[in-house]
Symmetry: C2
Subunit: 92 residues, 2 copies
């Protein structure tokens, strides 16, 4: 059941610039035909980035966000590129 | 810069079972060559689901989680299928 029509197995070989640590989040929301649900993707996006910051230090300029809206599917891509440093211990 | 090697534009036509609302999150973590970062994906996954629950009511059996670990990339897929109901107002 993939909204993105691809397999989970990342096909990418490690990038040349291997020193960087990368985190990519893709989020797709397929609205049901009778769903009158509000538009929560933008706020959900901010919350997800806040959660990520519990684990890795991320500067604003390291975060690239793209959003696409179709008739029934909206999708969000968050790309984070970090100079690889040890991850923080998650704050409680 | 896509770790999943695909375009953000979901190629999927709306599924036959259109009454359902679906949310799919894909998360890929490419460790840098000298990153000694801890393994935070499992905890990050739990946190992301907790964040989603601020917006939509999700029963445990509606959440399907898959995780893949490669040499330098680990990826996580969270599929949530909800009977479409109005989204909740996010709790502060």
């Amino acid at each position: 059941m993939s909204l993105f029509g691809f397999s989970l197995k990342p096909r990418k070989k490690q990038t040349a610039n291997a020193a960087k640590e990368r985190l990519q989040i893709l989020l797709a929301h397929e609205r049901g035909s009778n769903s009158s649900g509000g538009d929560y993707l933008p706020q959900l996006q901010r919350d997800i980035i806040a959660v990520i910051r519990k684990y890795v230090e991320v500067a604003d300029e390291e975060v690239d966000i793209r959003m696409e809206r179709g008739d029934d599917i909206e999708s969000l891509e968050i790309n984070i590129e970090m100079p690889s440093k040890p991850a923080k211990a998650a704050k409680a």
